[in-house]
């Protein structure tokens, strides 16, 4: 079985995986980082979004071996100790989550959006979120939270 080595949330990790192991499986099963979720099997829901080398990526759509040598950040690595990342804080402030299942992917995706397009309009925010499905919130408060984080990030 191939061995993969990568940096996850600032820590160097390695493990043996089957070649077909997805990055999300490696994170959840080998590293027990269960904050990254799996909501679909067709790369559409975005529950699995993490950052790979600084860009948001769907960890269900990448093999673990493809992330060999990469720098990966998951939802568990976003806050600074006990202090929430401004995007996490904004989601709380604006009630941008209900069941919390889409939330890790939503937050990771939103962080990347604000980095890439700090002044995104409501329309641009909504288009960016096309790859993140939320069944609970109707997106209203997620959009509000991201607009708030545009000011605080």
């Amino acid at each position: 079985m191939p061995t993969v080595t990568m940096t996850v949330n600032g820590k160097k990790v390695s493990g043996e995986v089957e070649a077909r192991t997805l990055l999300v499986q490696f994170l959840r099963e080998n590293l027990h980082l269960t904050g990254t979720h799996v909501g679909c099997d067709t790369s559409q829901c975005g529950a699995c979004v993490v950052h790979v080398n600084g860009d948001s990526a769907k960890s269900c759509t990448m093999l673990a071996v493809q992330a060999d040598g990469a720098d990966v950040v998951t939802i568990e690595g976003l806050a600074n100790g006990d202090e929430l990342h401004p995007m996490q804080a904004a989601f709380k402030e604006h009630h941008g989550l209900q069941c919390g299942f889409c939330t890790p992917g939503m937050v990771m995706s939103a962080v990347d959006l604000v980095k890439k397009n700090p002044k995104a309009t409501e329309h641009e925010i909504r288009e960016w979120l096309e790859g993140n499905i939320c069944r609970c919130t109707g997106y209203h408060n997620i959009v509000k939270a991201i607009q708030h984080a545009q000011q605080t990030m």
Partner: protein, 791 residues
Amino acid sequence: MPDGGTGIGAAVKRVEDKRFLTGRGTYTDDINRPGQTYAYILRSPQAHAKIDRIDTSAAASAPGVLAVFTGADMQVGSLPCGWQVHSKDGSPMHEPPHPPLAQGKVRCVGDQVAVVIAETYAQAKDAAEKIVVDYTPLPAVVDMNKALAGGTLVHDEIGTNLCYDWEIGDEGQIDEAFAKAAHVTKIDIVNNRLIPNAMEPRAAVGEYDRATGEYTLYTTSQNPHVIRLLMGAFVLSIPEHKLRVVAPDVGGGFGSKIYHYAEEAIVTWASSRVGRPIKWTAERSESFMSDAHGRDHITHAQLAMDSEGKFLALKVETKANMGAYLSTFASCVPTYLYATLLAGVYTTPLIYCNVKAIFTNTVPVDAYRGAGRPEATYLIERLVDRAAREIGLSQVEIRRRNFIPADAFPYQTPVALQYDSGNYTATLDAALKAADADGFAARKAASEAKGKRRGLGFSTYLEACGIAPSAVVGSLGARAGLYESAEVRVHPTGSVTVFTGAHSHGQGHETTFAQLVSEKLGLPMDNIEISHGDTNKVQFGMGTYGSRSLAVGGEAIVKALDKIIAKAKKIAAHVMEASEADIEFKDGNFTVAGTDKSMAFGEVALTAYVPHNFPHQELEPGLDEKAFYDPLNFTFPGGCHIAEVEVDPDTGVVKVERMTAVDDVGRVINPMIVAGQIHGGLAQGIGQALLEGCVYNEDGQLVTGSYMDYTMPRADNLPSFSVGTESTLCAHNSLGVKGCGEVGAIGSPPAVINAVVDALWDLGVRDMPMPANPQTVWKTIQSARPAAAAE
């Protein structure tokens, strides 16, 4: 309300958010038990077939495989249905068996045929490919009308596909009223089949402890005690004291996680055979073909009116799809949660409804957010919209003429329910204002100048929730009571744990319920913990659905809190050497009236557990109280939803420009959470109206089996919403609360479709099926054009 505002009415930020935002929630699939194995469930690719032979030998010897089981191995009870409906001739509904693993026949795509248990999920899945199943395909019946006509039978042993033929009302009386009517409006409605799609796929971990003989099931459930009862008593014969069911963090339910599913029984049963814990997690494609679906009604309805547009009588004939088996609450959805709502907010004096529930070779259909009430609302509000157009009244005027007046409560409808409170004019007026209905004409002109059509659609709706008074539902065939329970445990240092039988899977109970405690006991939120979802911790519970958590579960908490205060007063009286009647409790302090003697709540709590000089004959140590609350009636939230859409007639694309909802949800405990619930409901309602639709082909293959084919509402399909509340208080619970979880999904679909019809009326469009996606809208416009030209 204590300092900082954490009592009733405060928009307290959610207690549960931190763990979800930092990736530290614990959902079922996050649970890993020592020695855990994995299950893969082999499902039927056939909609209807006889199983001639299953050869599992190659799979059983595949790498990592511990066991393979089929229906021949798993001879257990049938997955039960919790509500018995009787046909109009008095006979009970047909309840064909629903085995967890198929017994000789499969009846829908996705039916469970075998289970493979292996060291890893990949090994289990690989091995399942080696199972050889010889099927003799049988013709599938998907269409309800064809199923009624007979021929192919889903269940041979019952000799019909008709589960029941139920009615409410007096058909003869109705026909007389129709004969005298000045005008009759008729409509044919299809309420499209939906797939719930909570974002967390269902999962279950079963575990057996050989030493104690105890089973534990971790599962994605809205009601763990109900699962314990159904699975323990009816399917696996495990007594309740040897079965623990835990529903940890659950990623959305919307009804689909109420029911007892085969996979829960399979992993629990198999865990004792294999001797190790077993985890099963649905892949999304499995969710599509194994979660209970929602809606799926075909209805013909007629409304009789006098010459002033007053409603005289309503006659409804509905066919409701049950799918291949009866899911847990399937039978009550198109009857007691549907036909009893057909008065809506109107004074219609006579109502008759006939419902035929029909088996087909499709996945079982059961309650999905709103359950029966969205179907009733869609029917009434589409009918009222059409009636207004036919008799030349405005959408607002026809409603005002028929509203139940605000001073008419309690109001007895002709279909069994008695509404306790409401003010439909108030919600309509507030919504008209919030939607800037007066500015619509100008916006419409602006759209037309761009070659677009703009429409305004109304829905003034009502629903029954806070489910439900046990005596009432019992008389209607429910096999359970629908009370809720709570325990308030005050710890020696004055902090509090509340155990509730309600279950939170997004609703924010850990916050809302803590606010009740904060309000009543004057404690800060940090001193309060809400515990739910574990049958070994919580005394009992009927769970969360039907917008019942606050109206029923919250009331149980209040009752237990009242008992705590009463007991604490006794203790305070004893310590302060006063008469109990003189003890007052306010802002967390017990005082002796007219003196400066006082004790803080924490001191009383400590004394309760350090009762050095208690008169033990009269006063027990401890401060821990339980309550069960059975509601006196349903609650009746209602309101007005107004949709404003812009349609591009060249492409058929519908854009929701404005969505306004003003709802009467009773007293609001946390306005932030209430607004969030309504947003989510609106998104699902707009989803049903414009995007979502489950499609089976004639052979019973599920065509919409993934997110590539089933259109989930995305952020860019929806507008920001305008929501508000305009409340009257529930008259029969102490909090005055009604419920807010379902109103968005119930009220909004007809508002959206009425808006689309309004936009296209001048093009000759008279009706619009759901989902009104671009293809459907474009086709409808094309077929209407010749008709419009001829008019």
